[in-house]
Each structure stands twice: as C-alpha cells, then as structure tokens.
Symmetry: C2
Subunit: 343 residues, 2 copies
C-alpha cells in the first residue's frame, strides 16, 4: 500500500507531514502505541500534573546493530530514558518518541521496533504521549535513530544526587556488569562465543521505587546508571561530585558473568568500561546497606546485586580498585572510544 | 586541544561518555548554555513544578543546509519546540537538547549552532536543562541532527485544541506564509533571487500568552503552527478535528511576501504547502477576532497577521479556497514530498 515494491520501505514522503506521514502514524505508530493522549495528534501532549518536583531527561539512541540478543534499539530507547529519570528518584510519568528514519528502511523492521517500544512502555507503565518522525535520504543516516525524552515526578522530600553522597556510604551495583557492551561488541565483530551473552536492557524504576519506599528516609543518597563508559566512568562521576571523598571498590566483589569475563579476555577489554543498560549504582548509608542489598536482590532486575565498595575520606575525587592479590590501582574515566554506537 | 589537525573536528571519542565527552560539555555546551540545572550534569534535570496541566512535545531537526538566511538548525530546534508547546496554550518551562553528530563535523560549526541555541533560548526565557550527545561515524548521519523536547504548563481553565473549534470561528494567520520553505528551497537549488528571502524562524509563545491574557476567556479555541506541509496541511488537520465543519479561506486575504510569491512562480510551487517556522493559525470566536488580530499585529512576530477565513457548516472535513476570480477549489493535505529535510 505504501509503495509498489514487494518489500515495503520508508520513502521520503513518509516524512513530509502530509498524507504518507498520516498513513505511517495510523498504520504503525497508533496501531502499537495507541493511547488517548498520543492519538489526539496535537502539536504537544497535555496531561494531568502531579505534586512533586519535575524530572526531565533526554537520550538519543544510535546503536548498531539495531537488533541484538536481549533487545533492540527500541528497548534501549524506552529503558534508557526511564532509567535516567529513576536515577534522580523520579517516578517516570511519560515519554516522547522522536524518530529519524533513513529512506529505504524496511517497514517490517520499523514495525518490529515500534512493537518492541510499545511492549516495553506498557510493561513499565510509562506511556509514549507525543512523537515526531523525520525521514532523511538514503545514506544520510543509518537505518534508524531514536530520541526519547521523559518526564518524571520526584516526591516531596526525595533528594537523590551524587552531591548527596557521604563518607562511609556503601556502593551497591544492581547486577553483573558489561553484558550489554560485550553483546554488541561480539555481535559486531562476528564472534560466536559459548554461553548466552545478551544485553541487560531493562527498566530500573520499580527497583528504585522499592528502595525509596522501604529504606529509612534519607539513606539512599545517589544513583547512577553506568551506560556509556561503564562502571568505571560512573564511579569517577560520583567521586568528582562527592566533595572531598574517594571511591574504593573491591575487584572480587564486582559481579561479572563468566561468559562476559571470557569474552573480555579474548577481546582484550576491561568490563569496568563496558556499557550497561539495566544496571545501577546506588550509594546508601552504611546502616541501610544490607537492607538495600536484600531489596535489590528481591527484584528480577537486581537479583545479582552486590555491595562493591564504599566512599572514603582520602584521595578526593579518585576511584581506587582493591585487587584480588592485595594491591590497588586507580581507575580513570574512559579514554578513547572502544566502541562507537554502543547505545 | 581536541585533536591535532589545524581544523578541529568532532571525533568518535567525543561521544564516548568519557573524558573527551566531558571536555566537549565543558568547552562548548556549558560555555554557552550555562545554567545551574544543566551544569549539575546528572542523569536527569530536577526542577520546580508549577500548578496547571503538563504539556510535552518533541521534534527532531534534520534541515539541510544547517545554516541559512534567517536562522540555522539551532534556531529551528529552539523555536520549533517552543511553538509546539505554545500551540496548546502552554507556557514553555524548559527544553532538552539531544545531539547526533557526524564524525568530522567542524567544531566551529558546532559551536556556532550551540551559541545560536543559547541565544534563542535566553531570548525566549526557556532554558535548556538537560542534554545528550552521540557521535556516529562519518557518512552515518549528515553533519548534525538535533532533537529538542519541551515541557510547558497549561494554566487552569485553558483548553486549546482543534477539537474546540466551533462554527463561525474566524481563522487568523499570524503573518506571511512560505518564508522558511522557499528560503531553504532556493538555497538548495543555488538560485539567487531579488529581495530578501529569509526564514521566519521565531518563537510564538509570547504572542500566544498575549492572546490568552487579553481575549475573553474561552474565545481562543485552537492554534496550529503550519510547519511541514504548510498552511494547507494544517488547515486540513483543523478541518478533520473540527467535527462536522469545513474550513473556508480567501485566497486574497492570505499574506504572502512578493519575493516569496515570485520565487514560487519560478519554481512552480504553491506557497500554501511551504513550511513556516514562526507562524501560527488561530481559531477565534467571531466576536473577538478583530481584537485577536489587533493583538497579533501589536507584536513583532505577528505584525503582518491577517484574518484569512472561517469555519463553516457544510462539507465537513474539507478545506475550500475562495479564489480571486470568484471560484473555489478544494485544498487537500500535502501529497508527495516536495522538499525533504526542510526542518
């Protein structure tokens, strides 16, 4: 119906704002993402407000390949922005969806991605309420780029920020690290490895809500999701924001799956720098750290959570890794770009 | 500092999330866009809420060329999303900024665009509070794509929507049409024409706020900004949403600049279908239409406003143009894509 070739593809016309755009919206977007706010197709969505502060986040997704074990560019786009909101203690309210499509993109691939976005959005309880689609000529982008932005509500009294970190805070990691990064990397290198490498793409807002509900008020100080740049870079951001303090982590305590470690050894990579898409670091007052760990482990996304270190006085701004042989080394933020288009 | 060639360009490393990303943020983004919420560099911005409903909008900008008379991709990105919020009667509160950069992009061009974004954002009083930057390898995008999303607050009692349109409503256009579309088009065709063709890129939220403040409550029914697809397509959207009603417009009443009309004649184009980036259509109850026109004309962005038609009972869903020779023709939404990457 949209063009005469047997394999239907995106045409420039689909980005015109005219009749072909309307067909695309009706036949693919509203088919999967239908909700009354989006379906109004106005210039912006209007919805009820809620008491509390506003959280606002944006992320663009350019991952290559667009489909991979454990997810696709659509799951990343939904989970990533939900997680960015959750990292400030916000309850995610809604998402926007901005698509940039390459002329010639397979319409079946587009529909598969939109269906995936719809599934993640419904499962997370965070609707897509507004959107935009642009089409650029062939070779002016690569298949599909997605931007999601999100609004969340931060309840009164909740203040989660790396600047709230305090000496003695325990550092929790909600699960094994490097799963997403190594999955994309081996996939792109064409490597076939034993085990079941898969992206950890997942939404963390329910885990965060559980921590906020159950921990003593004011004991959850900071959250970060270690995406690009990995755990090493996020810990450096925490150390930079936690004035006068150093991060100390224990190599043996950090959960890494056997197959991820093996793939890292083959490829000469350090899992500390690999991207994650469904993990968070949490800084918790020491008296509530064990309870925070128990709560994380009670969730499906946090079942492999671990306490990996603490915030100490000392070399302010540094991240120090205690190694299994009793030594220590300084962990710097990511230098260089080991893998463009990881997310 | 960022690379050793004499002309500094974007490297893949600038999108890594690591040290080069931090340098880009500090040396270009925070230099121009500095505000305390953005400068916190957390996973999401957290800010004060306001009473009223929430408006939320998103748009990606892929315009080619990225610099043109009257603006650049940055001015479009700020004005476009502010306008989408304003079209629901919202007061824009803040914007997000998502950048997708091509490896090799001239850093001076990037800085020029960021400076332009900063200038428009400050002038409009709508800060950029959160952002994200991705870099893709050369030839995987075209220089720079920008997504802006925005949050606005709709005051209690304000309900602006095409579904609120009523029989007898007068249709105002806030100024001349086609300026942006024809500017990009002649630029890309390499045509040099007499006159001063320039994009109309401008923010409309202050004009909308003035109408909401001064008109009798409930008499401003609907607003649309005729971007892609032009006035013709926006009027068709209004006619489709205004149940049971037809749009009737008067050819002679629609403001078109002489140089735009001349360029359209040379290129065989109809200005009704050309994109605008600083114009709106307003549907106003007839008893307040003259006052709405006076208010529009009192602003710099609306000084050439005109009443161009009205909503009538009759051929529901149709847009009818009364021509200068006494005839009439049906105006359909845009078919085909006369100009990809217009915005």
């Amino acid at each position: 119906m949209m063009n005469s070739k047997s394999k239907k593809t995106i045409l420039l016309d689909h980005g015109s704002g005219g009749i072909a755009s309307q067909e695309l919206i009706a036949n693919i977007f509203l088919k999967h993402l239908d909700n009354s706010i989006l379906a109004a197709l106005e210039d912006s969505a209007v919805m009820d407000n809620h008491p509390g502060k506003l959280a606002f986040s944006t992320d663009s997704y350019v991952v290559d390949p667009i489909f991979f074990p454990g997810g696709d560019i659509g799951t990343l786009a939904v989970h990533g922005t939900i997680n960015d909101l959750a990292m400030r203690g916000a309850r995610p309210l809604c998402l926007s969806l901005g698509l940039i499509l390459e002329e010639g993109l397979d319409l079946d691939d587009l529909e598969r991605i939109i269906a995936s976005i719809a599934k993640c959005s419904k499962s997370a309880g965070v609707p897509i309420v507004t959107g935009d689609t642009k089409v650029v000529p062939k070779d002016k982008c690569d298949k599909i780029f997605i931007n999601t932005s999100g609004i969340g509500i931060v309840a009164e009294g909740v203040e989660i920020s790396s600047t709230m970190a305090k000496e003695g805070d325990m550092i929790l990691l909600s699960g094994s690290m490097g799963d997403h990064g190594i999955t994309i990397m081996t996939r792109r290198a064409g490597l076939t490895l034993d085990g079941n490498l898969a992206s950890d793409s997942a939404a963390l807002h329910e885990l965060v809500a559980l921590l906020l509900e159950k921990l003593s008020p004011g004991t959850l100080h900071a959250l970060r999701d270690p995406t690009r740049g990995g755990v090493a870079t996020s810990l450096n951001e925490i150390a930079a924001a936690a004035v006068g303090l150093a991060v100390e982590i224990d190599d043996l305590a950090i959960p890494v799956k056997t197959e991820v470690r093996a793939a890292c050894e083959i490829m000469g990579l350090d899992p500390l720098y690999l991207a994650n898409e469904g993990k968070c670091l949490a800084l918790v007052a020491p008296e509530q750290a064990a309870e925070a760990l128990r709560l994380m482990q009670s969730t499906s996304v946090g079942r492999n959570a671990a306490i990996i270190g603490s915030l100490k006085a000392g070399k302010a701004g540094q991240v120090i890794l205690r190694t299994s042989i009793g030594g220590s080394r300084i962990i710097t933020p990511l230098h260089g770009e080991p893998l463009p288009r990881i997310c």
